[in-house]
């Protein structure tokens, strides 16, 4: 089949796609006609058959007890995990002490200096302002704790990522073996694997760092491999002809050539590590995340925001600095950019001296801690605003009703029918449905993975809650796509609109999800509706961005010709831009689905129920059997949703 499609000329693609899709569906129908009666006779229809379920409660409880009983004495813990844990604690502590020792003035000065070298004056000023804002919000110490945690977690992620990336970049076979592993690591919602990490390492920083590494290492690995593969063959040949050994070739040619990808990988890793820093607070990671989490417990949105803003600021600063560093090193050869030469070097020296002087001045003045009086209390006005909003919007808005009514209607008219529909279908029909969606979009492999992943939730004994979670994801994705694509279209057509949107999207994307869990409850009540609302808020920016970018990249020639034929704006959009941006839209769907799933799970904290509740329950009660099974089912759902929405031609490009 692969050779067939390859032979068809590119322009005829839509027609071919249609024909191919019909053929795939026919084949599927034939398979179903044979298999369904068999399955039906053997296991009957309805919900997932008991005969195909494996109960893991007993073995998992056994494992959990074994770990707790042997954690203080077994060699595996004494000589391996214990050292890992100690090493993490020692390094985080070392970084933290350095940051405290530098004092707030020193940290700000050095941060600005680094930003200036990497990204220019404007970013340097922004960085200094961001650090000072963290202090002003009264969050200096937690910010330093988070920063210390992040430094260690990012370094570890980069080390792991580069090692995996080297393996994948240098060996075709290892790359093939690693790809599904990285895929899985990336679609795992972070909440799902906190519990096993906690069980082995206990509550606290080591567990938080390790969970972060699992989450943040894959982009580094992917981009390293991509960079190594993409090295210019002519340069490599030249190096070879000079008689370089394999190691020399790697160190002097391939790695420097991959610098741009490596820096992009670093950027992605930092972003993911920061988003994990908050989730890790659930297992005692400390720092800003813990402040957000504690504020959530006392229903204090203002305090949660005060701790959330430094996270956003850190994310924006780190993003701009690493992205700028990546762009600089990418185009011009190293050395010509950024004003080096003698004047540049002198400037650098002066700046370094100035930074050290500021740090020392802070030290001698005895002002290492951020002065308590220099803080701005934002919690109170924020809470008043939130209070006003919920007072006036929750119910009793004339004509349109209040948010509580909408939430009720959304639950009754959309969430309930979708859930009941999915749970009412015979189990084999749900699997067939997944295959029928996945196969025409992707390859038979992706379709098979999707079907097996969904079947695995049945085998684990959580078929019903999985479908409940699935129904929430579907509803949230539908809302996200409608809003996201509409906004994306607006942003693509007007540069002004886009400029206005950019900071808003930045904030939504990096603001910890915990911050808006309470406002959504205040607006939508307890239940599945607030979980869906939180998920929409979180996934929207990615969908808007990808849509806008996809639309703007549509071939201008095609648009020009449409305009010359007298097409209206709406016609251009419908008939040219949207069809041509189809790959970007599919990518938006894929990203939307994965992001929505991550938050719908956290929705377990506001009454979302289903798998999210089980995961939270497992963590809260230390119940490995419930928590791990729910976690595994979430992973399976994530895999299924990712594969179902993954177009066949995207796999090669993924990661860029």
């Amino acid at each position: 089949m692969a050779t067939l499609t390859a032979a068809v000329p590119r322009i005829a693609l839509p027609g071919v796609l249609k024909r191919q899709a019909v053929r795939k569906l026919l084949l599927l129908a034939v398979c179903a006609a044979v298999l369904v009666p068999l399955a039906n006779a053997r296991w009957s229809s309805g919900s997932w058959p008991d005969a195909l379920t494996v109960d893991l409660t007993r073995p998992l409880t056994g494992v959990s007890d074994w770990i707790i009983d042997n954690r203080d004495s077994h060699p595996l813990f004494l000589y391996f995990f214990g050292h890992v844990s100690n090493a993490v604690v020692l390094s985080v502590r070392a970084v933290y002490l350095v940051l405290l020792g530098a004092g707030w003035a020193g940290v700000t000065a050095v941060g600005a200096l680094v930003a200036w070298r990497a990204a220019g004056v404007r970013t340097a000023l922004g960085t200094a302002a961001a650090f000072l804002a963290c202090g002003l919000l009264g969050m200096w110490t937690p910010t330093m704790q988070t920063l210390a945690l992040m430094v260690v977690a990012v370094l570890a992620s980069v080390a792991v990522g580069v090692l995996l990336g080297l393996a994948g970049g240098l060996s075709e076979r290892l790359d093939r073996a690693l790809r599904p592993v990285l895929d899985t690591m990336q679609v795992l919602p972070a909440f799902a694997y906190l519990l096993p990490v906690v069980l082995v390492f206990g509550i606290g920083v080591p567990a938080a760092v390790l969970a972060t590494v699992v989450y943040a290492a894959p982009p580094m690995a992917r981009l390293t491999a991509l960079g190594l593969r993409g090295a210019d063959p002519e340069v490599l040949e030249a190096v070879d002809s000079l008689g370089a050994t394999g190691r020399q070739r790697l160190l002097t040619a391939r790695i420097p050539l991959a610098r741009k990808e490596l820096l992009l990988g670093l950027n992605q890793t930092i972003m993911m590590a920061l988003s994990m820093a908050v989730i890790a607070s659930v297992i005692g990671g400390g720092g800003l995340g813990d402040r957000v989490y504690q504020a959530l417990a006392s229903v204090d949105v203002g305090a949660a925001l005060a701790a959330g803003i430094p996270i956003v600021l850190l994310a924006v600063v780190l993003d701009r600095v690493t992205a700028a560093a990546g762009e600089r090193s990418g185009g011009a050869p190293v050395g010509t950019s950024g004003g080096t030469g003698s004047s540049g070097r002198a400037g650098r020296t002066y700046a370094l001296v100035a930074a050290v002087a500021v740090a020392l001045a802070g030290r001698t003045a005895g002002r290492l801690d951020w002065p308590d009086s220099w803080t701005v209390a934002i919690a109170e006005p924020v809470n008043r605003t939130v209070g006003w909003m919920t007072d006036h919007l929750y119910s009793g808005v004339p004509v349109v009703g209040g948010t509580a009514d909408w939430a009720g209607h959304f639950t009754t008219w959309i969430l309930d029918p979708v859930r009941d529909g999915l749970q009412g279908l015979p189990w084999w029909a749900v699997l067939l449905l997944v295959a029928a969606v996945a196969w025409p979009i992707g390859t038979w492999r992706t379709a098979l993975t999707a079907v097996l992943a969904l079947a695995a939730t049945g085998v684990l004994g959580v078929w019903e809650p999985s479908l409940d979670t699935l129904s929430q994801v579907l509803a949230a994705v539908a809302v996200t796509l409608v809003l996201g694509i509409a906004t994306g279209v607006a942003a693509a057509r007007s540069a002004r609109c886009e400029r206005l949107l950019r900071p808003v999207l930045d904030v939504f994307q990096t603001m910890p999800q915990f911050v808006y869990l309470i406002p959504v409850v205040a607006l939508f009540g307890v239940g599945r509706a607030p979980a869906v609302a939180a998920a929409v808020v979180y996934a929207l920016p990615a969908v808007v961005r990808i849509t806008a970018q996809g639309l703007r990249q549509v071939d201008p020639a095609a648009l020009e010709s449409a305009r010359s034929l007298g097409a209206t704006g709406g016609q251009q959009l419908r008939q040219i831009q949207l069809p041509l941006a189809r790959p970007a839209l599919l990518l938006a769907v894929n990203q939307g689905v994965v992001l929505v799933l991550a938050v719908v799970i956290i929705g377990g904290l506001v009454g979302g129920g289903a798998l999210g509740y089980d995961a939270v329950f497992g963590l809260a009660q230390g119940d490995l059997a419930t928590g791990l099974v729910a976690g595994a089912a979430i992973v399976c759902l994530g895999l299924m949703l990712d594969r179902v929405t993954q177009p066949a031609d995207r796999r090669a490009k993924k990661g860029a």
Partner: protein, 315 residues
């Protein structure tokens, strides 16, 4: 090359202390920074627990010169963390017999720290404005009559019984089944979500039925009346599947890490003596959760007004 590897391995071994690493002795990396005496307290997600910690923290810092770290951890993981020394004390425990047996009796890594002075009670509650209109709702036998009034979009045609965080002790699902009630348990997922929802209901004077517990500051903002469940008798809740009785009254307990209890000096002695009343706790909780004071400000206010109470904890 060989030399370098050996040196690296040797320094790694030196760094990590040669032999076995003790998983029971691991403090937070943020503890004792810059030579300060530090201890770590665990805070549970409800506000009462925050109040205990806030006052203890304030006195430890201002009267005894300690630096106090707090970590928010759910109840069962907190026991685990306590046994490993990640946290030094739990100030409010609502009864975890399995954990007590495992860590206090068998492994002896956790020591009892005595009564907190507050008695806790779990129950089902309706808002008082509703109980006044329908006085018979306060007996569980009449609950079915009102099921339709408690219905929400989430409860699927039955009445809604709202439960809170998954970390709380609850038999409600079994109770609804065994008492054959026309209700659906809806889990709010966290105490914050539950409180937010209750406040919204109360603002509109809507009827609701909820799992709730005393002591709780929210009673001052949203007066609630308990619904009588079949009386609690010792042992009636042993079999989770057959339970058909209400919840006991529990004197809340403190627990300390065993090593800390022995070598913790003045801090450990102070925490063992820490004992106050339900009213005291509610006073601080109300300041934190409703007047939105920071825990530190609330603790300071309470400490300023109750010197005679806390002076005895320091002696």
């Amino acid at each position: 090359m060989r030399v370098r590897t050996t040196a690296a391995v040797a320094s790694l071994v030196l760094l990590t202390g040669c032999g076995a690493a003790d998983m029971t002795k691991q403090a937070s990396p943020f503890a004792n920074a810059q030579g300060a005496k530090t201890l770590t307290l665990s805070v549970q997600s409800w506000v009462g627990a925050q109040s205990n910690v806030a006052v203890a923290q304030y006195l430890l810092e201002h009267e005894l010169g300690y630096r106090v770290d707090t970590v928010q951890v759910d109840e069962v993981p907190a026991w685990d963390a306590l046994s490993q020394g990640r946290v030094d004390a739990i100030l409010e425990d609502w009864g975890h017999p399995d954990q007590e047996k495992r860590y206090v009796d068998d492994k002896k890594t956790i020591a009892r720290g005595g009564d907190l002075g507050v008695t806790g009670h779990i129950g089902w509650y309706v808002p008082t404005y509703f109980a006044e209109q329908h006085p018979d709702v306060t007996d569980w036998k009449n609950l079915d009559k009102y099921a339709s009034l408690f219905r929400t979009a989430e409860s699927g045609g039955k009445g809604q019984l709202m439960d809170g965080s998954p970390s709380y002790v609850t038999n409600d699902k079994a109770l609804v089944d065994n008492l054959d009630l026309d209700y659906q348990v809806v889990f709010a997922g966290s105490e914050a979500a539950q409180i937010t929802q209750m406040k919204q209901f109360a603002k509109e004077k809507k009827p609701f039925l909820t799992y709730w517990y005393a002591p709780q500051w929210l009673f001052k903002k949203v007066p609630m009346t308990e619904v009588k469940l079949p009386a609690y008798k010792e042992g009636c809740d042993v079999d989770a599947a057959k339970v058909a009785c209400g919840y006991p009254h529990t004197p809340l307990q403190k627990y300390l890490n065993a090593d800390f209890a022995k070598d913790g000096g003045r801090a450990a002695a102070f925490l063992k003596k820490f004992k106050w009343t339900t009213e005291d706790q509610n006073e601080v909780s109300l300041m934190i959760a409703d007047q939105k004071l920071t825990p530190e400000e609330a603790a300071k206010k309470w400490v300023d007004g109750h010197a005679s109470t806390w002076k005895t904890w320091l002696s």
